[in-house]
Amino acid sequence: MSDPKKEGEGLKGAAFSGGKSSLETVLGFLKRTLAEGCFDALLLPVKAPGGDSFPYVLVQDKALLEDRGSPLPPIMPVQGGKAVSSLTRRGKAPRKVAALMRPCEVRATIELFKLAQVDLENIFLISIDCPGVLPVKDFAADPEKGMAAFGEVLEKWGDRKVRPVCQICHRFTAPLSDDGAGMVVDLHIGLLGIEDGEVLLIPYSPAGEEILAKLDLVPAAGGDILSAWRDRANELTKKRGEERRRAQEEMKSKVRGLNNLLETFDKCINCHNCMRVCPVCYCRLCYFDSEAVKHPPDDYLRRAGDWGSIRFLPDTILFQVGRMSHMSLSCVSCGTCEDACPMDIPVAQVFSLVADEAQEYFGYLPGRSTDEPIPLATYKEEELEEVEDAPQGASSETKEKDG
C-alpha cells in the first residue's frame, strides 16, 4: 500500500471492454483476475437471494458472480469499510483479497486502518466511479422500482433520486491529479465520460500496476479515454463542490445553535442505529450505551425538577454532539447513518457538514493517506493558539521559562 501519485506525476489508464454494459465489463475484469490467480478471493456486493439487497460477500467461487456480482449496486446496505474491518479486525485476511468498493467506502477503510481496525496486508483496494446510491429504505420498500430508478441514475450520472449526501458528494471518484483530494487505493475503475461497455483501469500503486501487467494490460499516459474521463470527472467534481457549498450553507442555517440542533434531533428515539452502522464508529461498546450513562433515579428526578420536565431518555443531544466529537475528523460523508435512521433525521447531512468544517480546520482529509495521522491522535507543540484562553504567544514564553 502506498500513497497516491505525488504531484506532477501523470495518471495512466488502460481501457478494458468486453461486456454489454460497463458494469458487465467490470464483472468480466474481476472474473479474469480470479481466473488468472491475481487474487484468491474478491470482496464485493452480491445480490442476495431475495433480490432486495446487496450484502458484501467474500467470493471464491466464480459462479457466485454470475448474474449476482454487483460492482455498483443501487444501495449501500453495509458500508464497505465495515466489511473490510469485519474481515481483518482479528488479523490479516486469510488470503489475497481484492475489495471493490465505492470511494467513500475505501476512505472509511483507510481511516479504520489508521484506527487499527483494519489490516491492509492482504487487501488490494479497488474503487469505482460512483453515481451515488438510493436510500436503502426506499429500495427495501420496492426493489423493482429501485432497480429502475438506479438505471436512470447510472444513465444521468447523479440524480435527485440518490441520497442527499450523494447528491452533493464531490469525492465520488479517484484522485484526478494533484489537487490534494487524494485517496489511498490500488486500482480505480473509471466509468465517467466513457462509452458504455468500456471502462478505464487506473493504477494508483505499484501493486495496481503489477496486477495490470499480470493481465497484459498496458496503461498509457494521456490518450483519449483518459482525458475524456478526467475532463468529465473534473467538471462534475467542480459542480458538486459548488452544490455542496450551497447545500451546506442552507443546512447550517437550519442546524446551527442549540435550539436548531434540538429541533433537528427532536424525533430521535435514541436507537443509536446511526452509530452502529457508521464505519468510523467502531467501538464494540459505545460510551453512550455503557454503564457511564446510566444514572440513579434521583439524578433524573432532580434534572426534571430543574427544568419542569425532561425528555426521557434525556441526553439525546449529548449523544449526537459527543459522537461528532469522537469521529467527525474521520467522517467520510457516506450517508450510512442517515440510511439507518428510522426517524428520517438528516443525520449524515448534519454530520458531514460538521465534518467538513472540522477537517478543514486541521487540513485533514480522511482516506487521503495511510501515514497522515488523524489529527486527534497527534499534536504540534505550537498550534491552535486561537482556541486557548491565554495571550498570544504565552505558551511559547512558558515553554522558554520551563526550558
Binding site: 465495515k82 436503502v136 424525533k267 419542569g308 431518555l313 428510522p342 426517524m343
Partner: protein, 368 residues
Amino acid sequence: MAKFLELDKGTEAGIRELLGQSLRNGQVKAVFALRRTTNGAVNYSLITDPQMMEEAVPLFPSMPSNAGQLLSRLTLKGPVEGPVAVVVRPCELRALVELVKREQGSLEGFLFISFTCPGVYPLKASANGEIEGKQTQYWEAVKSGKVVPEIRPTCRACEHFIPYNADITISLVGNKDVDKRCILFLNTAKGAELVKGVGGKLSEGELETAELHAHREERLAEKKSLYDQGQLSGLGMDGLIEIFSRCIGCRGCRSACPICYCNLCTFDSFDYEYEPSTYEEELKKRGGVRIPPNTIFYHLGRLTHVGISCVGCGSCTDVCPVDIPLSAIFLQVGEAVQKIFDYIPGKDVEEDVPLATFEEVELTEIEE
C-alpha cells in the same frame, strides 16, 4: 364488580387534569407520560411542573420507545422515591415487569396508569407527521370498539390490550363517550387514593363488558390472519435467508427491544467475531461468505434470548430501517415458546421467567 370514577370531561383532558392536580398538591412527585415538545415531536417525558402537564399527550397513538425500557433505565440503579405516576400502554407495563424479573429495574414508587389499548400507528407515521391527520379516524374507531385501521400489525394482533398490574385502568376501547367522559377503573388502593378530591362520580361496574370481549375476538382473528400470512412454519432456512438478507446489521431491533437489556450484546462480543481462519474455513465450505457474518445467527440467537419474554410490542419492527417484519416473527415464535410453560410475560411479577426455574418432572417427551 369494580369501582370506577367518572369525570365529566374528555378522557385525555381528564387525565391531564388529574395528574396536574396530583403534582400540584404533592400527591405525586413526577409524572411519566408522552409529551409534545415545542418542536412538535412526541416523546416520553418526566414531568414535575404541573404547568407542563398541558403539553402531555398521554394517549397519543404512537410509541417512540417502549416505555418499559425507559422505566427500567430510570430505576436501574434503584427504585424511585416516588410516587411517580406513569401513563403507559399494557405491553410497556408488561415489558417493565419482565425487566424487573431480570433485576433491571423496580416497580416500587410507581403508580401505574394504563388503558384498554387501541394500538398505535407505525413509528414511520410519526416520523413523517402523518399521525396528526389520522387522529379523528383513530378516535372514531376507538369509540366504535372496532380494531383501528392502519395501526401496526402487531397491535392489531394483540390480545393483551387490557393491562395487567395497573393501579388505574382508563377505559378507551369501545368507550362511546371517550371525548366527553373520562372513565377510570380504580384497581388498587393506591389508585383510589390518587383520585381522592378530584370530584367526579364514583360507581361500580365492569371494565370487561361484552363489547370488550367482542373486541378481543376481533383481535384474536387478526392474530390468526397475521400468523397465516407469515407462514412461518413453511419458511425453512431458505425462507429465513430471504427475509433477513436485507438486514443491514444496524441492531436497531435489539436496541429498541425492551427485553434485550445487555450492555454489550453477545452478538457484538469478541466471542462470535470471526477470526481469519474461520473465514478461511467457511470460504472453503461455501465458496463465499457474507460479510459481516452471522446475520441469521444473530436473529435466531436473539429469538432464544427474548422469545420467552417477548411482549409483542412491535418496537423491533418500528425501528427497522428496511421493514423486516420482526415483531410478527417474534410474536408468533415467542408465543409458541411461552405456551410450553403456560407463561404470559409481564402478567405477574412474582412468577419466575421459565428459563430461570424448572420442575423436576416435565417435558419428558423431548428427551430421546
